[in-house]
Amino acid sequence: MTALLSLENIACRIDGAAILEDASLNAGAGEFIGLVGPNGAGKSTLLRVAAGLQKPTTGVCRIDGAPAMTLSPPERARRLSWLPQAREVAWAMTAREIVALGRFAWGAAQRENAEDAAAVTQALQEAGAAAFADRLAHTLSGGELARVHLARLLAGRTPIILADEPVAALDPAHQLSVMKLLRAKADEGRSVIAALHELPLAARYCTRMIILHKGRIAADGAPADVVTPAVLRDVFDVNANIDLVSDVLRIHLDPLG
């Protein structure tokens, strides 16, 4: 099976600082990969390289086996969608208009066809944003706006979904529903990679976890194999008690020392 997305020996230096070193990963259909690591580990840069927004210093990024550099921006956007950590909305457009931008690569900004409209409606419903689809963005709460951005991410129905901290600043109920939704997208046969800080959520919903540490991949595998007291101590500087209770990892964290 060819991976939907593959990163081969990616190194990334920005202004002389090594952000990523020799990072390789293959993401296949049906995988929900939780990308975890301390602040500054290189999670966002890895996602930006995969999204084609950051040119790696060395290494190749492939989408469906083809080097990403050979794809035009719309060709790439039809295969891959990306949710940034900073979520800007410069103009007070309606939630639905923002979500419809997720169909940009299909020409929806010029003319929205029936498929575009259906994809936008479905994405609004899945993300729980349908109730305020006609409200202007600046009248929405932070959590509502986060769901609008999530709907925009899903509206492209792309095989590859990249999300940078999709549950940051959400209340616990919405964190759970977003993680469930991303897992459902993976179960549909898409490949989802999300940068996450919420280790218990990641361990519970992701099919696979990759731990980034100082720009290198420190561990890669099933959550139960990757989230170990040793790894958490070395990478995150925390003491961890971990139990497996009826297939769910219970993680309890304490400061070192």
């Binding site: 930006r48 999204a51 084609g52 927004l53 035009s72 921006p73 719309p74 060709e75 790439r76 956007a77 039809r78 891959l80 969608s81 990306w82 940034p84 900073a86 979520r87 800007e88 909305v89 410069a90 103009w91 007070a92 457009m93 309606t94 208009e97 923002i98 931008l101 997720g102 940009f104 690569a105 900004a109 010029q110 202007l136 963005a137 600046h138 932070g142 706006l145 925009r152």
Partner: protein
């Protein structure tokens, strides 16, 4: 303010109707009092003095004011979409100042006396030269914040050269000519002046309209727009070159006129919503209506010396600018 995107075609229709009405209304106003029936018959046919006044003096003047305003409105809406800032304006990038400098140079070096088209063409060429310079200094590669800073510097430099030209003006007549261009006026415009500017205005408008989808995507920020598949380098090039052509065309028919590029898009948003792709045409129409209206206004004022159009625009527009600056907000979350 409620957003009704589906209203956009209706807004465009109403504004187009208002544009035609205000240009027609303008034909009834001038120093010579002409009965309404003769205005209409003079517009349609005849070659008597009244028909000449209507067709060769009042109609070109009304169309020049409308065209200059429409160009500034479209340029402002395009640049605001590109820079994601409701305070952006051709003035911000230094393009207006460069166009004014071009006109001033043509007058100062007496090129204007050689051919009627020398001044307008100089304005357009300088607007384009400013754009080329912006590109050479990094537009299309650097962030929009830096682009604005470069524009501020360019604007100041052109302003200094304009001051220098006025400082060194050989005689009061030359100075008064310079002042005409700097203050902006559409008095004594001919159909030839309009014909000269129209192709540049049309090309500029087409470029800005072609960038409309990219401007909509840019609402979510430059990186997100790129990830959505928008060609940002092309959108930047189209908007910046299109705005240069529009500003050059506007300066060539009306001289330097400020604030329309800020106020017209702001009003357009109130009618057509904030989607930057949908306010381009409403902004152009509103800009045209504003300047054509201001030109009617200055002709019915009871002053011996006619108020310059640019002065009237600034008197109305500067408070409008302050209002926009004080009330608009950028959203980031």
């Amino acid at each position: 303010m409620k957003d009704h995107p589906q209203n956009a075609p209706r807004v465009v229709f109403i504004l187009a109707l208002a544009s035609v009405s205000i240009v027609l209304l303008s034909l009834f106003i001038g120093p010579v009092s002409i009965p309404a029936a003769k205005v209409v018959s003079g517009l349609i046919a005849g070659d008597d003095a009244i028909a000449v006044i209507i067709r060769e003096i009042r109609l070109p003047r009304a169309l020049a004011a409308w065209l200059a305003g429409a160009c500034l409105g479209a340029a402002g809406a395009g640049l605001q979409g590109l820079l994601r800032n409701p305070l952006a304006d051709p003035g911000v990038l230094g393009v207006s100042a460069a166009a004014a400098l071009g006109a001033i140079m043509a007058i100062y070096f007496n090129l204007a006396a050689l051919a009627f088209w020398a001044t307008p063409i100089a304005a357009i060429l300088f607007a384009l030269a400013a754009t080329v310079l912006l590109y050479a200094l990094g537009a299309g590669r650097v962030s929009t914040a830096r682009l604005i800073l470069i524009g501020v510097g360019l604007s100041s430099f052109c302003g200094a050269l304009i001051s220098l030209a006025m400082n060194l003006a050989p005689n009061p007549f030359a100075l008064s000519d310079l002042v005409n261009w700097l203050f902006g006026t559409v008095a004594n415009r001919s159909i030839d002046d309009l014909a000269l500017a129209a192709p540049f205005a049309g090309l500029g408008l087409a470029l800005v309209l072609l960038s409309a989808p990219g401007l909509a995507a840019l609402t979510l920020g430059e990186e997100t727009a790129a990830s959505l598949g928008a060609n940002l380098a092309r959108a930047r090039a189209f908007v910046v070159i299109g705005a240069a052509l529009l500003v050059g065309a506007s300066v060539s028919v009306a001289g330097a006129i400020g604030f329309v590029g800020i106020v017209a898009p702001h009003l357009a948003r109130a009618f057509a919503g904030q989607n930057p792709a949908r306010i381009l045409i409403p902004s152009a129409l509103l800009g045209g209506i504003m300047l054509a209206g201001a030109d009617i206004f200055i002709r019915i004022l009871p002053f011996d010396q006619e108020l310059k159009l640019g002065v009237a625009a600034a008197l109305i527009g500067a408070p409008g600018f302050i209002w926009v600056a004080a009330t608009s907000r950028r959203m980031t979350s």
